[in-house]
Subunit: 98 residues, 2 copies
């Protein structure tokens, strides 16, 4: 079962607003903070600060993500466990599509 990040990790994932088309999340991690395995549907991330995360996938593989302030990035549906990896704060507006 794919978990909803706002349910399993409400510290880092808050619903900014939601309607019949989208659910917009405000994602904030402090330096070095780690989430819990969860999933997202198709989404567009807009990074609000320079930073970086490590994603761990259910098969154990990992990927380093680089974030540039103001950058927009497409995410296909994903299940992952993110972790801040540069000792900085992360802030992202994450537009999940329904």
């Amino acid at each position: 079962m794919v978990e909803d990040p706002t349910k399993v990790d409400p510290k880092h994932y808050k619903v900014e607003f939601e309607n019949e088309k989208v659910r917009v999340l405000r994602i904030r991690y402090g330096p070095g903070e780690k989430s819990i395995m969860h999933g997202h549907p198709n989404a567009v991330a807009v990074f609000l600060a320079d930073g970086g995360a490590k994603f761990t996938y259910p098969d154990g593989k990992t990927e380093d993500i680089a974030m540039k302030a103001g950058q927009a990035l497409w995410f296909p549906p994903v299940e992952h466990l993110p972790e801040e990896r540069l000792g900085k704060s992360i802030e992202v507006v994450f537009v999940e599509l329904k």
Copy 2:
């Protein structure tokens, strides 16, 4: 006919990326700059700087929009003519839904 902002005002509206679900625009206005009447489908705006715009609608009515850096805002389908109104630069990531 509702005009595509990337066609009628490519100076201010650029396609950041596009796929079968979304078209993501990078919107930038210099101080006092004005667009040309155009339309958008359902969309989420993410403002990257504090600022303000005046929207003029096809019926001649106007509306002042306030922008806060990092804010996400839902836009239902709209036809409008935006103009920067505070003498500052505007930068927006605009996620149009298909």
